[in-house]
Amino acid sequence: MCPGTLDGAQSITQELAGSLWPAAGGIGIDTVKLFTWGRRTPGRLTGPRSVPMVAVVILATLAGSTLVVAAIRAVVPDAAPVYLLAVLAVGTLFGTAPAVVTSIAGFLLYDFLFVPPVLTFTIASPDEWLNLLLLLAVAVVIGRLAALQAERAQEAADRALEAESLYRITGVLASTRTVGEATPLMLARLAETTAMDRIWFGLGPSPMEEHIVADTAATEALPVPGWHVVLQRLPDGPMRWVRTHVGRAGPRRSPRAVVFRIHVEVAGELLGSLWALRGRAEREPDRAETRILSAAAGQLGQAVVRDRLVEEATSAEILRESESLKSALLDSVSHDLRTPLATIRAAAGSMLDRTITWTEDERLAAFQTIDAEAERMGRLVRNLLDLSRIEGGALRPELAALDVGELALQAARRIHSGGKTIRVEIPPALPPVLVDDVYLGQILANLLENAVRYGGPTIVVQCRDLPDEGAVELSVADDGEGVPMRALGHLFDKFYQVPRTDGLSRRGMGIGLTVVAGLAHAMGGTVRAERSVAGGLAVVVTLRTADPPAELEDRSRVPAQASQ
């Protein structure tokens, strides 16, 4: 019948059936085939219709009808309806023109074979003339109506098919997060549906500046943009393909393939192009294919815009988060620096007031306060610097075998305990640990200050030998409220604040423990947080012991990596 048409349609229906009813594919194909088995509107044929072929069919139909008419003429007085049936069949299958041809040919044949005088085109009786002319008119009208009906049915089926194809192609966009993810599959399906040899999608203001997002034949070099056929979409006119070129117009050689271009634009803004390539001998895309290509380009445009909006929103969000983190950090830093500074100014200002005569003890106490608070500020600044070194991987500990108990006692003496009790429990014969004394001092100061600030009235510093592991555990525990179990794992995260249940604002910067962990790791140690025996928080730092005596000899720098 019309092989070109069926091939194209069939491949779509097979695909459709396969994807919609994988188990019952055969049924699907057959069902749709009933609708596609018919003539297509002239502009939508998938290949030039063969005129001889149609003629053969018409002749065969007429010959068949004639035989039937001859056979039944004995029984039925007027066999004209049989010719009408033939016209109906041709009209349904091939459209108006063949139906008209069939009508006229049938009219002549009937005249020639059955109207007396038989075997001439002459018509004897004027009545017969009228009969025959009426038959011709009825045949033409029936042929035309049959053709229209077939066209409409075909069109509806095609539209449904087109919609399904389009859904299958652009549905990929809805199920993926970005255009980049969606396009490879989408273009492959598009190429298959529109019978293109290759389809690619480029984003950019002009063909020369486009970057290719996806390409169904990415391994092959792209054709140099030159002569191509671009789809023109007029505001309310039809779509049409126009031959054009980009860049310097080279000689209009006959290329081996035709390149088609569909603009991808949204609200008048040209975002890029959808390109399609088809072998040279092939025709330009038919109306259905054009519509699918155009719709796909439209969907791509929408998706690109959507992607952009999402990206903008995300980067704005990231910016805002980092801004808010920055301002929270600055707020904390300024708060934590201002607090000791306030004490220093109060104490120093008091000493400077000439109207007051201070006793020697009062004076001494004030200077001790100033000294302690200045040290606290120094520790804070050191924490900030350490934090940046930890993050930059720039910690260079100078490890030496030292007595951890002695260092713990020193740290406990230096810290401003605020009336709280700090108990240091060191077992005898503790092996020396391999530490940087400045780092360990900073670790202890941070842990003790936290315990003083957030813990209960008693703070216990303990050391435990773990000879099997070649390590010593140093723990700082308090008897305060502790922290919720779920917060324990986050305590060493940068800027982490234990969530407060009472709605009070955050206190502290959330960098002290981060620094503790960073410094401990830099010395080859580890940290963990757990519930203390007294129900508060215990932070346990594990430190490597120095292997005597070889390590003792080698006091030189041991490279260590900061790891967070």
Partner: protein
């Protein structure tokens, strides 16, 4: 000038700061109660009804702003907020809750004492004047006649300017937020119209300055950037200095 006998409550959770401040204030002749938490503060306030409260906003058990609200429900005891928080919103929240003034850490003890004096001068209050007139230095505002004089000579003000001056003079020794001024003079819906305030305060200052107050006006109605205006308190000095015009 030492205000002998004035009773202060220092609410501060940082022990070194609290001790240093209280040592100084005691030696300056004040009687000082100390509190490290909001609970202690409210207890001490109940027990002694101090003359002035120095309040740190960042307390471990309750937000300082809530402490202000709690006290304001019962008394007008002057409250000076002392905080290390840098955010202006905190200051405004404290002032709007009823605090009289605000000091950012770190501050000098001299500045603290000056603020204590300022809020204490307000204690007797301009509202307590027998004739109902408001006075600040040479400026005198008579609500009964809606008239303002500087050193006895009348100065003309538009109704809005007059209202604004009245609110400012009623808040001597205090830091008044822009929102409060806008609400009091222009109404609720103008609480954000800061440019109005800027323009009107500028006009007030110019007229008062030209009328004889001179450049001193910048200190009498001082701008606290980002927050509002601090009105000087001169009540202690005024009765002696002010020319008796009535």
């Amino acid at each position: 000038m030492t205000q002998s006998g004035a009773w202060l409550l220092v609410v501060e959770d940082e022990e070194p700061t609290r001790r240093s401040l209280s040592n100084y204030l005691v030696r300056r002749g004040y009687r000082v109660d100390e509190a490290a938490t909001a609970a202690e503060a409210l207890r001490a306030w109940d027990a002694h009804r101090p003359d002035v409260i120095l309040l740190d906003l960042g307390l471990p058990d309750l937000d300082g702003v809530d402490v202000i609200r709690h006290i304001r429900r019962a008394a007008t005891t002057p409250i000076i907020v002392v905080s290390a928080r840098g955010d202006e919103r905190d200051k405004i929240a404290g002032l709007d809750a009823g605090a009289d003034d605000y000091l950012s850490k770190p501050f000098s003890v001299g500045e603290l004492e000056a603020r204590i004096h300022a809020v204490m001068r307000r204690l007797g209050g301009p509202d307590g004047d027998p004739d109902g007139r408001l006075r600040l230095g040479q400026i005198e505002l008579d609500p009964a006649r809606r008239a303002v004089t500087v050193a006895g000579s009348p100065v003309h003000f538009s109704p809005r300017e007059y209202e604004l001056l009245k609110v400012l003079l009623s808040n001597q020794g205090r830091l008044v937020t822009r929102e409060r001024l806008l609400r009091a003079v222009w109404g609720l819906e103008y609480a954000e119209a800061r440019e109005y305030l800027h323009v009107y305060v500028g006009r007030l200052r110019r007229k008062l300055s030209e009328a004889g107050v001179g450049p001193l006006i910048e200190q009498m109605i001082a701008t606290e950037t980002g927050i509002g205006y601090r009105v000087a308190a001169s009540k202690a000095a005024t009765p002696a200095e002010a020319p008796t015009s009535g």
